[in-house]
């Protein structure tokens, strides 16, 4: 479905992604994890064709991404950003209808069928009641639901999500990921950048860990999600236990003042903020 080979890309003089390779098969639900500034967002920008590739290749269904027209690409892949950046007060329904843009032909507007599909997508994200409200007047969580509905209205085989729930409360997070899981069971391939390790472990079948622009670990959740891997990648003390209901691995963090004496030698060293710009500021 998505084949990435020796991918390098970045902004201006800075190379953010260095020699990334992986292959995402149809129907996989993969999480992209990693510390701040590791290149998660950049990877999603490269896959969705927003950021030009410097070297290497990204192929969608065997076809080089730069050779797929933008509209055709938007019919294969839909993206959900971290948070909405909408500058005018559109009705929420109008936002979701924009997801039908790649299917428009000629000079016409959106058809009754497009409206039907938009409403269906809104029903799935439970945002139907917001249809007539302005996107600028609803809460952040509701607006995110509308953006996910927009991506669903695009009716794509692939969904790319960039920390879609980082600003949402717990109930909303679970609601969004339940929906993603359901789409995944309908054979939608999902690649989702995440900060929340436990959310990733609950829903993703596969985890791709990115750090300093490189893939440091890639495998099934069961194989990769353990004490040693997480502690090393996140440079903090992480312990993994089992979820009481689902049995999936769940991470627990050990407070720094304790860890300082027992595990690592230098507390101050890893408390420093990550240097360099956050790649998600792009655009």
């Amino acid at each position: 479905m998505i084949r990435v080979e020796a991918l390098c890309c970045g902004y201006d003089k800075k190379d953010v992604l260095k020699n990334l390779s992986f292959h995402l098969k149809r129907g996989e639900f993969a999480g992209v994890l990693g510390p701040n500034g590791s290149g998660k967002s950049t990877l999603l920008f490269a896959l969705s064709g927003v950021l030009p590739i410097r070297s290497g290749s990204v192929r969608i269904n065997g076809k080089e991404i730069s050779r797929i027209s933008m509209r055709a690409r938007a019919r294969q892949m839909a993206s959900v950003p971290q948070k909405p950046e909408i500058s005018f007060s559109f009705k929420c329904l109008s936002i979701v209808l924009m997801g039908r843009y790649p299917f428009l032909s000629g000079w016409g507007g959106y058809s009754a069928l497009d409206v039907e599909k938009a409403l269906e997508a809104m029903a799935r994200t439970e945002t139907l009641h917001l249809a007539q409200r302005m996107i600028t007047d609803v809460s952040g969580g509701e607006a995110q639901g509308v953006l996910i509905a927009k991506a669903l209205a695009q009716e794509t085989d692939i969904l790319l999500l960039d920390e879609p729930t980082s600003s949402l409360d717990v109930a909303r997070k679970i609601q969004v990921f339940d929906l993603l899981k359901q789409k995944n069971s309908e054979n939608t391939t999902i690649l989702c950048a995440l900060h929340d390790l436990n959310l990733a472990a609950l829903y993703c079948d596969r985890l791709i860990f990115v750090k300093h622009g490189k893939i440091v670990l890639d495998g099934s959740t069961e194989e990769t999600f353990n004490d040693e891997n997480l502690s090393e990648i996140y440079e903090t003390d992480v312990r993994v236990s089992r979820h009481p209901v689902t049995g999936s691995p769940q991470a627990h963090f050990v407070p720094g003042f304790k860890a300082a004496s027992s595990v690592h030698g230098h507390v101050l060293g890893r408390r420093e903020p990550v240097s360099g710009g956050n790649s998600s500021d792009y655009g």
């Binding site: 920008f45 969705s48 064709g49 927003v50 027209s69 933008m70 509209r71 055709a72 690409r73 938007a74 019919r75 892949m77 839909a78 993206s79 950003p81 909405p84 950046e85 909408i86 500058s87 005018f88 007060s89 559109f90 009705k91 329904l93 109008s94 936002i95 924009m98 997801g99 843009y101 790649p102 428009l104 000079w107 507007g109 409206v115 409403l119 029903a123 799935r124 994200t125 439970e126 139907l128 009641h129 249809a131 007539q132 302005m134 600028t136 695009q154 790319l160 609601q175 339940d178 929906l179 359901q182 792009y282 655009g283």
Partner: protein, 368 residues
């Protein structure tokens, strides 16, 4: 939201309600469209009643009927006919055209720059166009033609595009184009170019007509000839914008999302900028710099009809035309002594306070 059913099942009445509301909104749009269309026709004829020479309304009507050939017009006073058709009607049609052009250009600039404070005037494009036109006059190219098109609007276009790119590159800080810095850059560029216009004027009293004309905008002494000069540019601009109007909505989502939804953002934005610059050039080359029409009108429509650009463009254009038409009537009749005000003074007097209101309101309401 509290309980989470499978999500696929929905109650049909909800969707039916939404669809009905959509139909209602469409009805409101069509209603407003018809109202504004009738309003502009009524305004064109109604405004012909106003002027220094008092002509009874009935005679104005008779003049129209006679001129259009519906009624045999032998008994029409030739002076009245000249005044009504060649002085008033021509100027009214021109102000309508310029109003449409400015309001549509304002809508487009606000859309592509994602900046509700943008319009041809605030971002310096109008002054750029005025500078281009006055340079053409200064260099003695005023009556020149290029492929049958007047040269002045072409020079205005050059000035408009140059000013636009200057403002964009000035307003960009760390790769981001911020709303406030963009307007500041617009003011800097506009002030600088106004000074250059004054300089050109000081160097050559003869060729560059009244400085007030370019800086404050006026329709004094303008007629059919000017309308014919501006029309091809305005039409070209409108067509270019309409072809890319659907993308204007998507650009409001930000560049990253727009690209992910299949829009060639750079290409589309360039086309829309050229379209809006064509409209600005058409307007400025015949009427000078008229502020606030392109800023206020799109906001009024957006407040009542939402932000969908196709509807917004159509309604803003019509309302802009009507608004400028009546502003010009006010400019003609406001002063008791028969003196004329530049129409830009009238639009600034009405639009300035509204601009302040917007600035204040945005501070409280908008998140970005």
């Amino acid at each position: 939201m509290t309980n989470r059913p499978s999500g696929t099942k929905t109650v049909d009445p909800v969707r039916a309600g939404i669809l009905q509301k959509e139909r209602h909104d469409r009805g409101r749009f069509v209603g407003l469209l018809v109202l504004l269309l009738l309003g502009s026709v009524a305004s064109v004829f109604g405004a012909c009643l106003f002027g220094r020479l008092e002509i009874p309304p009935w005679d104005v009507l008779k003049t129209f009927l006679a001129t259009s050939g519906i009624v045999e017009g032998s008994e029409i006073d030739a002076t009245w006919k000249a005044v009504v058709i060649h002085i008033r009607l021509s100027r009214i049609c021109l102000s309508l055209l310029v109003g449409v052009a400015l309001a549509v250009a304002g809508t487009v600039f606000q859309g592509i720059l994602r900046n509700p404070l943008a319009d041809p005037f605030t971002i310096g494009v109008s002054t750029g166009a005025a500078f281009g036109a006055s340079m053409a006059l200064f260099l003695g190219l005023g009556s020149g033609q290029v492929l049958g098109f007047g040269f002045i609007p072409l020079a205005s276009l050059g000035g408009a595009v140059a000013a636009l790119f200057a403002v964009i590159s000035l307003g960009r800080i760390n790769g981001r184009l911020r709303r406030e810095t963009m307007v500041l850059a617009g003011i800097v560029v506009a002030t600088f170019l106004s000074a250059l216009i004054s300089l050109v004027k000081a160097l050559d009293e003869e060729s560059v007509s009244s400085i007030v004309f370019w800086v404050m905008g006026s329709f004094q002494g303008r007629g059919w000839r000017h309308a014919a000069l501006a029309l091809p540019y305005a039409v070209a601009g409108l067509v270019m914008i309409w072809i890319n109007s659907r993308e204007l909505d998507i650009l409001s989502m930000g560049d990253v999302q727009a690209k992910q939804m299949g829009v060639h953002t750079d290409r589309v934005r360039l086309r829309l900028m050229i379209g809006a610059s064509l409209l600005t050039a058409a307007a400025v080359s015949v009427s000078g710099v008229i502020g606030f029409v392109g800023l206020v009108v799109p906001h009024l429509i957006r407040m009542s009809m939402g932000a969908e650009h196709r509807r917004l463009l159509v309604l803003s254009g019509l309302l802009g035309g009507i608004a400028l038409l009546w502003s010009d009537v006010l400019a003609r009749i406001l002063l008791p002594g028969g003196e004329e005000l530049p129409v830009g003074v009238v639009t600034a007097l009405m639009g300035g306070p509204f601009f302040c209101f917007l600035l204040k309101r945005r501070g409280a309401k908008v998140r970005i």
